[in-house]
């Protein structure tokens, strides 16, 4: 099993969720985060002073999947999140040795879906 972490642009969230649905990946956990990457940060004005911040609002999506779903999931994420501009984000794929469904105490591949 893999634990996939994607950081995307906030305004692509809707589209990404739709693409995931299309790939029949329905389970996910979404968090609001601040990101700092290659994208130029935002400029804010405070009482006449121009400030260049470097933390931008981003969305983090976490998805635990069985191996055979990894590629479809990555493709769905890319399809939904990609605009071709700097700031589109990253996908990190970690190994997930174990998983438990709290309700049923099922473990492993059974629990993940």
């Amino acid at each position: 099993m893999k634990y996939i972490i994607a950081i995307i642009q906030p305004h692509r969230l809707e589209k990404v969720l739709r693409e995931l649905d299309n790939s029949e990946i329905y389970l996910r956990t979404v968090t609001q985060v601040m990101g700092c990457g290659r994208q130029k940060g935002v400029t804010e004005v405070y009482r006449g002073n121009i400030e260049h911040g470097n933390l931008l609002k981003k969305i983090k999506i976490e998805i635990a999947v069985n191996e055979n779903y990894v590629e479809p999931c990555v493709q769905a994420l890319i399809k939904g999140a990609r605009t071709g501009k700097v700031g589109d984000g990253k996908i990190f794929i970690l190994d997930l040795p174990e998983c438990v469904r709290i309700r049923t105490e099922e473990r492993g591949g059974l629990a993940i879906g």
């Binding site: 642009q9 305004h11 601040m34 400029t43 804010e44 004005v45 609002k57």
Partner: protein, 431 residues
């Protein structure tokens, strides 16, 4: 840079154009003045109230954009009003169409009292109406209109629509001469802004993702607070429109409250019956619909009529917002047309039904009190307002779009107006 020159020029004009000197008219009544000044302060508070009412319903990234429009209008139209708005509206009538045009740029030795109130109190009270009318429109184009375009639009719209209409209805113009009744601005304020909002929403186009993506209010408590401030301020709006303190102001006050309460209740009950839940946004929307609906009628009808006007206003607006809008498919972001346009139209019409000389002997009787003629006059007024507001808004926006584009770029819409138009965020996330 051009802007700097502009306001320097404006600055010089101010010096001449603005009335000087306090009123010394012997007829001034301290009690009426106190009432009018308080009412003016209350109406002033409505514009920030509106900013919060609107802001709460938007996404976090667009809150400041809409709040800024209201606040900017408060300043801009406030100054426009004393420069030329007031004279166009309330100056000596020119053929029923407009007041004093030449007054722009010449100095007034002093404002005479209007009846029992000082001229400065009257000009300020009326100015607050000019302000909120423009601010209302901002709700229809929220989340996508460029600030610069809204700025220029407001100035032209206020001059060409508001000032004319205000003159027609309250300043001695042809509708007033005809006997058209609009106590506190059903046509002047609510129809004009509502219809213009509809035209603007259609011209500017839908927001990205509308209607698939539903934008949920980012902070309903802000909308609740805005509703409270609007309701509170509306007592000044309607009861202050009696100008003097006493029985008429009290009648208008009671009518205002009762219509809002009845409309709030009805909206909740419809919501409950249709969706299974009574909603907070529903009661707020209903109350505003009731307030807008009773505005033209507040000083002309009895409280029982006011309650009925409020109830019907809620039904009409509920229909407009929940059924008509989705069906027609335009994207009037915050339902300015669905609430103010429809309710204002209904209210002005309702004056032709419910007006009664027993409520206000200076008013008229409506259809239900034996005078069908009044209803006809009201319909003429409605038509005139719809046409003036619709046509001018259409023309002005078309030209502005050609000259400077009305809408932000797609990318700016994605990022949000707060950052792209104002380089600010409403809220920090981390601290």
């Amino acid at each position: 840079m051009n802007r700097k020159i502009l306001w320097l020029a404006l600055g010089l004009i101010f010096f001449w154009a603005v009335p000087a000197g306090a009123d010394t008219g012997g007829a001034v009544s301290p009690a009426d003045t106190a009432w009018l000044l308080v009412s003016t302060a209350l109406v002033m508070l409505m514009t920030p109230g509106l900013a919060l009412f609107y802001g709460g319903m938007l996404r976090r990234k667009n809150v400041l954009g809409t709040i800024m429009q209201s606040f900017f209008i408060l300043c801009l139209i406030g100054i426009e009003w004393v420069l030329w708005g007031y004279y166009m509206s309330f100056g000596p009538d020119q053929g029923g169409v407009v007041g004093d045009l030449v007054r722009l740029g010449t100095s007034l030795a002093g404002l005479e009292p209007r009846g029992t109130v000082p001229g400065f109190a009257f000009i300020m009270f009326q100015g607050m109406f000019a302000i909120i009318t423009v601010a209302l429109i901002s709700g229809a184009v929220a989340e996508r209109m460029k600030f610069s375009a809204f700025f220029i639009f407001s100035l032209i719209w206020s001059t060409l629509v508001y000032n004319l209409l205000c003159h027609w209805v309250w300043g001695g113009g042809w509708l007033m001469q005809l006997g058209f009744l609009d106590f506190a601005g059903g046509a002047v304020v609510h129809i004009s802004s509502g219809v213009s909002a509809l035209v603007a929403a259609i011209l500017i186009g839908k927001r990205k993702g509308y209607p698939e993506k539903v934008v949920r209010p980012h902070n309903l408590t802000m909308t609740v607070l805005g509703t409270a401030l609007l309701w509170f301020g509306w007592f000044g709006f309607n009861a202050g429109s009696a100008i003097v303190s006493g029985g008429l102001a009290s009648l208008a006050f009671a009518n205002t409250f009762l219509s809002a309460a009845a409309a709030g209740l009805i909206w909740v009950f419809i919501d409950w019956a249709r969706t299974g839940k009574p909603t907070v946004l529903g009661i707020c929307s209903g109350a505003i619909a009731g307030l807008a609906g009773v505005t033209p009628a507040a000083g002309f009808v009895s409280p029982n009529s006011a309650i009925i006007i409020g109830m019907i206003a809620a039904i009409i607006c509920y229909y407009g917002v929940s059924i008509l809008k989705p069906r027609l498919g335009y994207d009037d972001t915050l339902d300015v047309f669905g609430i103010h346009g429809l309710s204002g139209t209904w209210g002005v019409f309702a004056v032709g039904l419910f007006a009664s000389k027993s409520a206000n002997s200076a008013g008229a009787d409506g259809l239900f009190f034996g005078n069908p003629g009044q209803l006809l006059i009201q319909i003429v007024g409605i038509a005139a307002t719809w046409i003036l507001a619709g046509v001018v808004t259409y023309g002005v926006l078309k030209i502005l779009d050609a000259v400077m584009k009305l809408r932000v770029s797609e990318e700016e819409e994605d990022i949000g107006l707060d950052l792209t138009q104002h380089s600010e965020s409403a809220y920090t996330i981390l601290e």
